[in-house]
Symmetry: none
Subunit: 160 residues, 2 copies
Amino acid sequence: MFIITVILSAAAMSGNMQDTDEIDRAILSILSREGRVPMKSLAGRIGLSRSTTTERVSRLERKGIIRGYRADIGQLDEGQIHAFLLLTLKRTPSIGVLDRLAGFSAVRKVSSVSGQLDLVVEVEVGSINALNELRNEVATLDNVEDLTTAIVLRRDIERS
Amino acid sequence: MFIITVILSAAAMSGNMQDTDEIDRAILSILSREGRVPMKSLAGRIGLSRSTTTERVSRLERKGIIRGYRADIGQLDEGQIHAFLLLTLKRTPSIGVLDRLAGFSAVRKVSSVSGQLDLVVEVEVGSINALNELRNEVATLDNVEDLTTAIVLRRDIERS
DNA sequence: CGCCGCAACCGGCATAATGCCGGATGCATG
DNA sequence: CATGCATCCGGCATTATGCCGGTTGCGGCG
């Protein structure tokens, strides 16, 4: 097999398409910080035309590399209580539950995990009452089989 | 101070402005899931005009309640495995365990929690083998009663 | 009690961004 | 050297945005 070297108009570097190349990473880097930036200015920053940039972004979306765009919600009213909700689902791919979870502003992070658990949900609320309400709402979501709540008493180690 | 009551054209209910009212919460709920939705369609969904909706969103941004917009990236840095180690201790508190955990460079975050669990440990390793070794080392630490490992398959939500 | 200011709302118009094409280019392949 | 393919660009009709003035309901004040 020959070495596939593509010199693109002296601007882009070599790249076999396939997955994410240098340009895609630049796009992801920008969009992960400025999710609402217009395609036109994104294009300008990475040095491609608007239509090409749009096409690349759509491809990243289709491929699932960009799963969506989220507004980054700050504290609604000074949340202090952190907790983990450990969820077991009845059926495991559950888009519905994720959508609902994303709707709670208290939800900070959701991870799909292997093992008996299915989701680790990190939440931040302003009061124990709010936590209880959230807990009840999450527990009664369709497809949620089991829910364990663990309130963070102390943050012992936090890096990076 | 008097109660500021705003009756909005028979559509919205009462609400004191000040912070976030019912409508703002609707906006946040939608934007937290669809960060790139056009203002026009956002407006349509919450039942206000485009300009009013835009003004509300800008206010949320100015107030810092919306911190920004992020593209939700799937796998960004490949090769890194994230996992939660859910620890139950024989006796709590246990300074010894925390010291030992801090000694592992793979340990990213440790939270003391209430409930049946005692510690939620977030780790980041380069391979499944590394995770297994780490798991074994942690499990055999003095004072560790039980250890559940949950590998993060996918990061579904991550804010801030 | 009428007037003013304010906050929240709406609609409209010029400008900017988007969606959707067709067409060019470079490269591997038969 | 013709064909297919991936990538890129530009242009035009459509849509969204930024910015403005105008309306409405209500508390404050003379």
